[in-house]
């Protein structure tokens, strides 16, 4: 690079060929500048991707694959469109984005076209061009953006499109998948919200940005989500599991089947009804067939029936995962207890409850063996409550098994806790007496 100023370089080029383009020199320089700008933009747009698990994208993919209407809730500008682009690419579907707020209701319900003899022929509702193209392609991903900033009549027309897949007189083919996006009530300028019947038809996914992903992406490396693949061999098993999970919960908790949202805070969100439970069942089957993590399943389930019922379902799935007390009692030597403290305690409580339900000498002994095993492999304080309960189940002719000596540590622990409780009571009484004086 010469040390002279760059401007001088342009004005008096040392290049002998430059003067030949003298008549158009001004235009030539400008083109060059635009080219440079183009180069700069290319550089800026050049970014690489790295594989990174993305739970919310995986949840979205599964819901779209299951052909359920999805509603993405997210603040403006956090990458909903970018995510949809990636989703469309991975599902090999052409993406059609429709910004709802710049359209009129007739764009979705069909434009009435008055013919020569309306009384005889009727007035057909003509669909817009993008809908015709979608039908002709037979497949595609239709993204309805900014649902919440559209006027109410447009929203009404759009919801018919989402739920019935009709645009005017046109029926969208099965290969078309629809995703809608809305801003949360707090940030939406005109505060649109769904009525409970409509909210019940959607899978609500909260779209949030990941700080780390954004910083890394702006630095030049965007994440590339690994798309879940449905395993053809697991399909029957997945359906069976999903049915067992939902029916098991609803059989035990009939009040969860249908519960209209009450209160201002829960308006417009997901809530449980037979329809949304049916959607949940579908989603559990899809997540199981895809081998998705519990976090993904959690987003889907809570987005379909709401937090409370969703969490209850997940909790009952956890219980399905825990070993069956009867299996443990049948073979205490080969038993594998969960290692997390709270789960282990739940299992031990279950075992004791099973013995209480059908008290037999052999079962009682087996339960002791399990408790001993628990003390040997984990925290002794977990065993104290089950052991105390089990001891009360003893019948007169049952001898205490020898292995119970291994529980001495737990008994000692229990005694120390008892003493601490006594000291606490004394200290509290003393403090109360002092305060009262």
């Amino acid at each position: 690079m010469p040390t002279c100023a760059p401007l001088t370089l342009v004005d008096t080029p040392a290049d002998p060929f430059a003067p030949e383009s003298a008549p158009g020199s001004a235009a030539g320089t400008e083109t060059a500048q635009l080219d440079v700008a183009g180069d700069l933009l290319t550089l800026l747009r050049h970014s690489t991707t790295e594989p990174r698990p993305d739970d919310q994208l995986e949840a979205l993919t599964l819901a779209v694959a299951a052909d359920l209407p999805v509603l993405l809730w997210g603040e403006p500008g956090i990458g909903k469109t970018a995510a949809l682009t990636q989703l469309a690419a991975s599902l090999d579907l052409p993406l059609t984005t429709v910004i709802a707020s710049v359209h009129e209701p007739s764009d979705f319900s069909g434009l009435p076209v008055v013919g020569d003899d309306p009384a005889e022929q009727g007035v057909p509702m003509a669909p817009p061009d993008w809908a015709v193209r979608l039908v002709r392609a037979g497949k595609g991903l239709l993204f309805l953006d900014e649902l919440s900033t559209a006027p109410p009549a447009v929203q009404a027309a759009l919801l018919r499109l989402v739920l019935e897949r009709r645009i005017g007189s046109l029926q969208l083919p099965r290969g078309v998948r629809i995703v809608a996006a809305a801003n949360p009530r707090g940030s939406a300028a005109d505060g649109w919200e769904l009525s409970p019947p409509l909210a019940n038809r959607f899978v609500h996914l909260q779209w949030v940005h990941d700080h780390e992903v954004v910083v890394r992406g702006l630095g030049g490396t965007w994440p590339r989500a690994t798309m879940p693949r449905l395993d053809p061999e697991r399909l029957p098993e997945a359906v069976d599991f999903a049915r067992r999970a939902v029916c098991g919960l609803l059989a035990a908790r009939p009040t969860l089947v249908h519960r209209l949202p009450s209160g201002e805070t829960r308006r417009g969100g997901p809530w449980p009804s037979p329809r949304s439970w049916d959607m949940t069942l579908t989603l559990i089957a899809f997540a199981t067939a895809a081998g998705s993590s519990r976090d993904v399943l959690s987003q889907l389930v809570r987005g379909t029936v709401g937090d409370g019922p969703g969490l209850e379902l997940l909790a009952s799935l956890d219980r399905l995962d825990l070993p069956d007390p009867e299996t443990l009692l049948a073979d205490p030597a080969g038993a594998e207890l969960p290692e997390r403290g709270d789960l282990r305690q739940a299992v031990l409580d279950g075992v004791v409850a099973a013995v209480r339900a059908r008290p037999e000498r052999s079962r009682w002994d087996a339960a002791w063996e399990l408790l001993v095993k628990a003390v040997e492999t984990g925290a002794p304080d977990l065993v104290v409550v089950p052991a105390t309960t089990l001891a009360t189940l003893r019948q007169e002719d049952w001898d205490v098994p020898a292995s119970i000596e291994s529980l001495a540590g737990a008994v000692g622990l229990s005694r120390r806790a008892d003493q601490a409780a006594e000291r606490t009571a004394a200290r509290l009484a003393e403090a109360a007496a002092r305060a009262g004086r």
Partner: protein, 426 residues
């Protein structure tokens, strides 16, 4: 679930010098004193650390313990510390700290220390007693000159670091309390952490236990259990959404109409198009001016309604105000920002205010009622969308003339927003 194991199982000697028996006996004592917290206590994974000054938790439900601290504490106080640390996690103090820091633009370790102190105050004002002693070192709101019974966010706005907090700079409950990662923590990729779904599941099971046996838990835990997965939203947002949807819903304000052809029609002969017609919404605010509602409360709520109606496209002159006690006053326009005389006092009968609001011409699109609810309500649903902003009152006002008087709750046809409740999740 088998991926997780406790320190005790994976490593029978979790660290030289730790009196594990004492620590676990303390946990057992804590679980007996607070049975509804047992699930959460047992879900914690113990990690021995010499760098942590006392006992601390991270957001992945690991509990870091200093052996020297365990040696120095009486067993019964150690049990109280267990309950204290698990409370940070159940009450989502790390998430709330992060949100608070983001909203208020706070950075730096000093602010995080302040959050830890505020979180401790929220826990400590009612965590002890009834089977648990209060550790000597526990921070209480009173030691900062603050009242009991507030939320962490409320404490945060009420004190600064200064001479009276100098003694607390050693305080460190870990990132589980204030959201700031520590160098001695294992972080998201370390072993034995709980995933987000697992953390939610544990919190949910604890909440379910409290809701299932409401007799045994104190008031504050019951409130936590009710709100754990439905944090109350800030009332401004809720009131805003209610007023906006009432004022801009179909039939009010802006919508499409076939009454006049659209401008697009010129380009499309033979096609009938609807046109967008816009009428700014009219909002009428009925204000309960009886003695039981304070001027400050009324002022802030009225400002809020005016701001909201402006945001929907309403003009200031389209917001009218009807002060109302036992009888309705004049209808005022909120035009030039002059003060509206909120005269009144004594008993309330909002039915008069309703009637007055509905008789104004042109009729309002939405009626917003600001009241403490100590009033009779109209029998039938009025021909107008109704939003009730309710100032919460602890107990019903005593009426000397009629001791049996119990005020009605707002009717089901109105959308009710409780004003003044600060959301824990905000």
């Amino acid at each position: 679930m088998t991926a997780h194991s406790t320190a005790e199982t994976s490593d029978p000697e979790p660290g030289p010098g730790l009196d594990l028996d004492k620590l676990l006996a303390a946990r057992l004592h804590a679980a007996r004193a607070r049975p509804y917290l047992a699930t959460a206590l047992f879900a914690l994974h113990v990690v021995v650390s010499r760098q942590v000054p006392t006992m601390a938790v991270d957001r992945y439900w690991r509990c870091y313990v200093s052996p020297a601290f365990v040696d120095g504490m009486p067993l019964e106080e150690l049990a109280a510390v267990w309950v204290h640390e698990v409370s940070h996690l159940l009450r989502d103090h790390h998430g709330r700290s992060d949100r608070y820091a983001r909203q208020h633009g706070l950075t730096g370790p000093g602010e995080r220390l302040r959050m830890n102190i505020a979180a401790d105050c929220e826990i400590n004002d009612d965590a002890y007693g009834d089977g648990l002693v209060r550790p000597e070192s526990a921070v209480r709101p009173a030691s900062l000159g603050l009242p009991d019974g507030k939320l962490m966010e409320e404490y945060l706005s009420r004190f600064r670091l200064g001479a009276h907090t100098d003694g607390l700079s050693w305080l460190d409950c870990g990132s589980g309390a204030d959201g700031l990662g520590r160098e001695w923590e294992l972080g998201p990729d370390g072993a034995h952490g709980l995933s987000k779904e697992e953390r939610d599941a544990v919190r949910f099971r604890v909440a379910q236990g409290i809701n299932g046996r409401p007799g045994s838990a104190p008031q504050k835990w019951k409130r936590w259990a009710e709100e754990a997965f439905h944090p109350p939203q800030p009332w401004r947002e809720l009131l805003g959404a209610a007023v906006r949807s009432a004022a801009s819903g179909p039939g009010a304000g802006e919508d499409y109409t076939y009454g006049r052809p659209a401008r697009r029609s010129a380009g499309l002969p033979g096609v009938v198009l609807p046109s967008l017609r816009r009428r700014p919404p009219r909002v009428c605010v009925v204000i309960d001016t009886s003695g039981s509602v304070s001027d400050a409360e009324l002022g802030s709520a009225l400002l809020e309604v005016a701001a909201i109606s402006r945001a929907v496209g309403g003009r200031r002159d389209l917001v009218t105000v009807v002060p109302c006690d036992a009888s309705a006053g004049f209808v005022h326009s909120l035009c030039r920002g002059e003060g509206i005389p909120l005269l009144g006092g004594g008993g309330t009968d909002l039915r008069a205010g309703f009637a007055k609001a509905l008789r104004t011409t042109p009729r309002p699109d939405a009626v917003v009622i600001l009241t403490d609810g100590q009033t009779p309500w109209p029998e039938a649903r009025p021909a107008c969308r109704t939003v009730v902003g309710l100032f919460p009152r602890g107990r019903s006002r005593h009426d000397e003339n009629n001791p049996d008087y119990v005020p009605d709750t707002p009717p089901a046809w109105a959308r009710v927003v409780e004003i003044g409740s600060v959301g824990a999740g905000c």
